[in-house]
Symmetry: C2
Subunit: 342 residues, 2 copies
Amino acid sequence: MTRPLTIALDGMGGDIGPDVVVPAALRVLETAGDSVRLILVGQEDALVGRLRQAKAGSDPRLVVRHASQLVSMDESPAQALRVKKDSSMRVAINLVKQGEADACVSAGNTGALMATSRFVLKTLPGIDRPAICTMLPTVRGYTRVLDLGANVDSKAEHLLQFAVMGSVLANVNGIERPCVGLLNIGEEDIKGNEQVKEAAQLLAASDLNYVGFVEGDGIFLDNVDVVVCDGFVGNVALKSSEGVAKLIRHYMTQEFQRNLLTRLVGLIALPVLRAFGRKIDPRRYNGASLLGLQGIVVKSHGGADALAFANAIQVAMLEAERKVPQQIDAHLAALHAERQAL
Amino acid sequence: MTRPLTIALDGMGGDIGPDVVVPAALRVLETAGDSVRLILVGQEDALVGRLRQAKAGSDPRLVVRHASQLVSMDESPAQALRVKKDSSMRVAINLVKQGEADACVSAGNTGALMATSRFVLKTLPGIDRPAICTMLPTVRGYTRVLDLGANVDSKAEHLLQFAVMGSVLANVNGIERPCVGLLNIGEEDIKGNEQVKEAAQLLAASDLNYVGFVEGDGIFLDNVDVVVCDGFVGNVALKSSEGVAKLIRHYMTQEFQRNLLTRLVGLIALPVLRAFGRKIDPRRYNGASLLGLQGIVVKSHGGADALAFANAIQVAMLEAERKVPQQIDAHLAALHAERQAL
């Protein structure tokens, strides 16, 4: 009998902590089979109390593992690493390292999660720093964008590695030969910086399905499965997009609240607006992957609710089932061997 | 008697050319007083034909200036500069150089416009490359973002210059002491690249109203008058935002078109949706400024319609009235003198 697929959850991370993580875990178990096991890591009293509050019956698939410390949302990564050796975040990652869990999920602070993951799990051979990758909605479905902020001043070689890692993730999502685009700018006489020009050559020479440059709007409008960029640029692109979406929501609410008549119209349009809202609901895309590690770590948004956190758990489960780190490792090794042969 | 405020218009630029520029010029003259003069530059036949078609009576405020060549939208800047010495774009810029016009507006290709403007007008002392700046809507009003793609790999010193230029533009828009933010990323352990860290120090030491870092979403949600960033990053932020706005529009249309009932709801909600649409209408923000030149050049979106192009003309008129290049020059000289004194 094989061991059940086991996911460790940082029960205390994020802006809300157990009040989100516990209901999310219960939600996932509702539809998961017997072959799944979740480990809730954190302050036992808080977690058990929250389970009791949810009237959760005893379930052999749900285990609580005590951890005495917390990493706060504004704690420095160095501080978290040095002082918080029994934090819920650290213990969850340790469980992956020790082979007790196949993946872990945390809504805790990104810097600390990244630093602790690197320290505990180590990066794959040939990877300097892990990259952060998330799915985003497009006119035709979804795309994956990386890096989203773990690497600034990425070199061309890093962009190539991101492309490999993003392609593996797209494979896992059922896309056989994912199209890879390189984020660039179009409307000026230089057409990109040195790093991007060099990366374009590396990508074209690789065995990836590289389809060329993508501009910022192309992330959402082009038919590309993976968009590769430097972490600074990717982070700004992601956050700007979130900002515009919030701005649009703000203006739309304002217009529908203008007077009694517009409120009435809003009421009539509510089912349509809700259906539309579900389509672009960021909770559906929650769960960013830290790629390039010798283990699976998924970062949930700090402000995620139970639905969103449950989604991040599903991301971790899929990556664990499909052994994403091993696949990335194999692809990188093949890339390396191919170059040696040249 | 002072000479009227004169704006040269590249009549042939953009995806559409005279069919947009001529109606836009007529629209501006409808509300402009006698102290404004517009010079339509381009192929005389096409421009005069289009004026006749619009049944425009003779107006001493509107002059046609023949130029025999066109710069196409995909022409290389070097090619445009070398071969197209009698293009509508080049002649419009020449008019500014010769003092016949106070500003020029073109919807032509950005690279060629930038290269030709630099070649003909030259940059202000201490400016290496001009920057592109546009206004964007925010929850509280507007902000200005620069650079949007003219400069890649900008140094800290350039970011400081962008801040000075953006502040002058905000002044012109009636903001006495504009808040300046520096675009950065927050959620990781490095917190920005070297260039941004260094720029933050320069900005803090300057006499500008520097308020600190802004993340991508902060462009639209924070209360900042000027957002400063490298051109690669700014271009990606702008285009990503446009992409998301289009994606949201796509999904919303899709939901309202789902069936007969939702179409009916859409019809009822139409006035509210239109009012909302006007608020985020990109045409209202058309007209990007090329800053740092010894002259005023405003870039209209290539796909702009008459309303949008008219808006770009208004931007040029305001900058000409307020002598933006002279103001930028004075601010930069003061900055330089202050440093010498240290």
